[in-house]
Amino acid sequence: MKKIKVLAIVGLCVACFLSFTSNTIADTGVNKKVILVGGSLDLTGPAAFMGQGVKRGINLYFNKVNAEGGIHGRKLKYIAEDDGYVVAKTVSNYKKLTLKSRVFCLLGSTGSVGPKALKPYLEEDKIPLVGPYGYTSAMFRPFHTYLFNIYATCEDQAKIFVDYLKTELKLENPVIGLLAEDNEIGQDTIRGAEAQVKKVGWQAPVVELYKRSAIDFSSQVLRLKAKNVDALFFPVISSHSAQILKECQKANFQPLLFATATATDLRFLKMAGDSAYFGKGLRSFATQINHRDNSSGAEEFRAAIAKYDPSNKDPNSFNLFGYGIAKILCEGLQQAGADLTREKLISALEKMDGYETGIFAPMTYGPNNRQGTDSVRILRADHNKKDFVIETGWLHPE
């Protein structure tokens, strides 16, 4: 009897051991043929469509590079682990990627808290993480050697928002409203807007927050309306943006509306329906190009989709984002030379100055700069074309 019990326990231990066995690839994740790149993305959970989209975009670009001969003869392989928007799992995934799969570097990440939790680990293991998907300044402030940020942060966007109201739209002391999710992105936005408003000498912004589980924005919108807000900025995910627009329409609330990069898809316009063109119209801060327009980057992306991922009939901005960050990483890897190490990748990325991805604003890193870019451009929802049209070029915060 005891034998069976012992046997079962031994069997369990063997099974555990099997799961511990690591790959045979070298510690650094690079050999003659392959470069392993990993990422912890939210492939399930409340914002899963972002992680799924980014993963698809990255794989698209990697497939393209591999088909064109790879980087210095090495093929790229992307390993995505799911964290379901939970920090604990992000760290577990990091451990798995670095200690078991032995990746060379990390590409893409969930939200902004995840990479923050990884910071000490990245520092310890000296592993660079390129392109965290989050718009917060906490990514590179305080300076962190191993986090290569891509986006203009929400803080920058809020500053550009105030600048744009002042310089382009020539508003005088308007009431500025912010409607954000109560997370790091929301806090970053508030910080940026308050700083910039103080600088130009306008009154403090009206702030409304909600939680991710929210299903109803009516009271926030009504409160903003009651405060006579002239210009409203809502850096939130696309479905929430659409809901907010609908609420504004319902409440007959007509401020200048500013959404963020998540609200630049055609799908978003479809979701919002009429409400996107209601009142003074909707503008969006785009951190990347629109993949439907006729710039060279968009054409390249469309060609890649047609060739390497033809099943993707309706590419979205997250695909494009993944494509873009993969492109930046590949540029870095290319520049780092045939004898690839992590230090060389980091110094190659640091040398990047105004690199034109065709997707983001020109990318610039330096020994003390990990932001990449702080520019956004403004798109306007056009009623006749039923699409966004470009309103400005790349804008910097002042």
Binding site: A8, S19, F20, D82, G84, A88, A138
Partner: protein, 362 residues
């Protein structure tokens, strides 16, 4: 049908007819298992040690939920909240107030137990599933409270917790084997404690409330008191597990406090076997390693296009249903049935089939 005769006045007969089937409380197989647990880090690489440490914290959490769900029959969906509370209170005690880490661990546990009183007393007054609803609501409220108490918890930005604990004579880094020994000692203490609890008067009160609350009440058991006590003990261990998890990860953020985490622990109980301490342990082990096994299998059998993460979620859901419908006693229950089959091998009284839900094994 009765096949026995009642003996009247047999009180004066000595206990000579006490049956041979005296339970064997001395379980010698425990010793090789414990020895194995302590020897394991010698053979493991860094990732495996990390995984085993996470597993240890998970085991404590699963045992905590087992005390509440398995022993007392009260469903809680707020386990993640207590884990979060544990991590935050450990972090605040150790990092902000600079209290000795061992004390901080205890304070974290007691904070959880104290908070559980606040929820338990109103929601356990009623029979039924009110605790499940209340704890679910409590998860959302905790999430919001963490954001609201920005000054203490650092709000949405997440709270950094030191991954090193200094217990006087030695410093333990949560990635090291040293921490492994520390945390597995805690696991063994927790398992032994809950085993003893189950054998004691209090544990019997818990199980009797689970099986028939009316009978428990007329037997002199204060139902509310014991339910609340059970919830407090469970929350103590849950918070302890949360504090340990915080140490291992090095960070806690409000995003970690969500219902899915709580449900994960429930899955462990269902798969391992509810109402049995070893069942909770087995469930924790299986659920921690299952993703690894799934990905291993899929690497060899499935094409790359299948999205593993959703598949894994689906498999978890199906596992719950499979176990509840076909083997409600979990892996441990099935194991005892198989054991019983072999014990009485040629003389099986009846077919080994579905037996009672929540069946306590010795």
């Amino acid at each position: 049908m009765r096949t026995f005769s009642v003996k009247i006045g047999s009180r004066r007969i000595t206990l000579s007819d006490r049956m041979i089937q005296e339970n064997d409380y001395r379980k010698w197989w425990i010793i090789p298992v414990v020895a194995g647990v302590y020897l394991l880090p010698l053979f493991l690489n860094e990732y495996s040690i990390y995984l085993m440490n996470m597993l240890a914290a998970t085991i404590i959490g699963a045992v905590a939920l087992d005390i509440l769900c398995g022993f007392c029959g009260q469903l809680s969906l707020g386990h993640a909240a207590f884990i979060g509370i544990g991590a935050y209170s450990y972090g605040i005690c150790h990092m902000t107030l600079a209290i000795n880490p061992i004390f901080s661990l205890f304070i974290a546990g007691f904070t959880g137990a104290f908070v559980s009183l606040l929820i338990g007393i109103p929601s356990l007054r009623l029979k039924g599933l009110y605790l499940a609803i209340a704890t679910m609501g409590f998860t959302f409220i905790t999430d919001e409270a963490v954001r609201f108490l920005r000054a203490w918890t650092n709000g949405v930005e997440g709270f950094k917790i030191s991954r090193i604990i200094d217990i006087g004579f030695v410093q333990l880094n949560s990635g090291d084997a040293g921490f492994y020994y520390f945390i597995y000692t805690l696991v063994i203490v927790a398992v032994i404690f809950s085993r003893l609890l189950l054998e004691s008067k209090i544990g019997r009160a818990f199980t009797s409330i689970r099986d028939s609350d009316v009978a428990a009440e007329v037997s002199g058991i204060n139902i509310l008191l014991y339910k609340v006590l059970c919830f407090a003990i469970s929350s103590f261990f849950a918070s302890l597990s949360g504090a340990l998890m915080g140490i291992i990860i090095g960070m806690i953020s409000p995003e970690d406090i969500n219902i899915m985490q709580s449900i994960n622990y429930l899955i462990m109980l269902v798969i391992g076997g509810m109402g049995v301490v070893y069942g909770a342990v087995i469930g924790a082990v299986l659920i921690t390693f299952l993703p690894e096994w799934i990905s291993m299998l899929s690497n060899s059998f499935l094409p790359m296009t299948v999205d593993l993460s959703i598949l894994q979620y689906l498999i978890f859901g199906l596992l719950i249903l499979f176990f509840i419908v076909f083997e409600p006693n979990g892996v441990y229950g099935r194991w005892t049935v198989v054991k019983g089959y072999f014990k009485t091998f040629p003389f099986n009284e009846r077919k080994v089939g579905r037996i009672a839900w929540i069946y306590r094994w010795r």
